[in-house]
Symmetry: C2
Subunit: 145 residues, 2 copies
Amino acid sequence: MTEIKVSHSEPVFSISSAAKLLNISVHTLRMYEKEGLIIPFKKESKQRSYSKADLDRINCIRNAINESKISINGIKTIYSLIPCWQVVNCSEEDRKKCEGYNGHGKPCWTYDHPGTVCENKNCRECEVYNNFSECGKVKELIKSI
Amino acid sequence: MTEIKVSHSEPVFSISSAAKLLNISVHTLRMYEKEGLIIPFKKESKQRSYSKADLDRINCIRNAINESKISINGIKTIYSLIPCWQVVNCSEEDRKKCEGYNGHGKPCWTYDHPGTVCENKNCRECEVYNNFSECGKVKELIKSI
DNA sequence: GAAAGTTGGTATTTATAAATATCAACAACA
DNA sequence: TGTTGTTGATATTTATAAATACCAACTTTC
C-alpha cells in the first residue's frame, strides 16, 4: 500500500484508470464530455487526463443521474442557469455578445466566448465550472446574488 | 362553430376535455399534479378543473419532456431554483423557516409554508408558479436579480 | 517494434422513466 | 335513477436515455 500525494486538481489519471475508479466505462466518460458536462485535461497527444477533482465532479453528476433521476439534458439546463456573469463579473457589452449569457440549455463552458473576458480563459480552470458541479451549490449561488 | 370568451385563468375544462385538448391521457395529467408540476383548480367536490393558462403551462412542460429531453425530476429541480424569495420578497425570518428557500429538488409550491408570508397564499395564483413555467423565463428572472 | 492503451465512430443492449390500461367506489347531472 | 365522468391506486406497456460492445487507426511505453 503506497500513498502518493498529488494536488486535487492535478490531472494524473488516464481515462481507463478514471473509469475503473468510478466503476463506469471509458465510453461513458467520453459521452459526458461530448455532452459538455465535463472538461478533462488533454495532453498534446490529445489523450485525456483526469484529476481527483474531476472524479469528484463526475461522481456528483452520476449521483444526479442515478439517485436524483435528472436526465443529462436536465443537468445541462441546470448548469446553464448558473449566473456565470456574476461570478466572472463581465461587462454589459460582453453580456450582449455572450452565448452563455443569452443562450438556453447549455452550460456556458460549452461555448467559445469570442470578444468577451472569457475568450482567453480556460474554462477547465474557471470558478463557474469548478465550484457549482452540484445543484445545491447552484441554488446557494443564486441566493447569494 | 361557436366562440366562447373566458378569462385565460378561468378554470373551465374538465380533466377529460383538458386531456383531449392536450392529446394526452387523464392519468398523465394526474401524474404531473402528483409530481408537483401543476396545480389544477379543485371544486368543492374534489374534481379538477383546468384553465387555458393551465393548458399552456402543461404544453410547456410537455415540450421540456419531449423536445428538450428533460426528465420530470429535472424540471422539478429547475423549478426549485426559481428565486421565489425575490418574487414574493419574504423576510429573513421567513427564509430561515421556509422549506422552499432551504430545500432542494422540489418547487416551492409543493411545500406548505407554515409561519411565512406564503402560508395563506394560494400557490395556484402566485407569480412564482405562474410566470416561470418555462425554463427560459427562469433564467431571465435570475438575470434580473 | 511489439504490447497495451487511446482515439472517434457506429451499432446494440439494457434499464427505467413516462405513459397507458384497468379497477371498484364515488360524484355529477340530465 | 341511470348514464357519464371522476376519483385514487395498482399493474402493465412502451419509448428511449444511458450505458455497453465493437471497430480500425493511431499513441504511448518499455
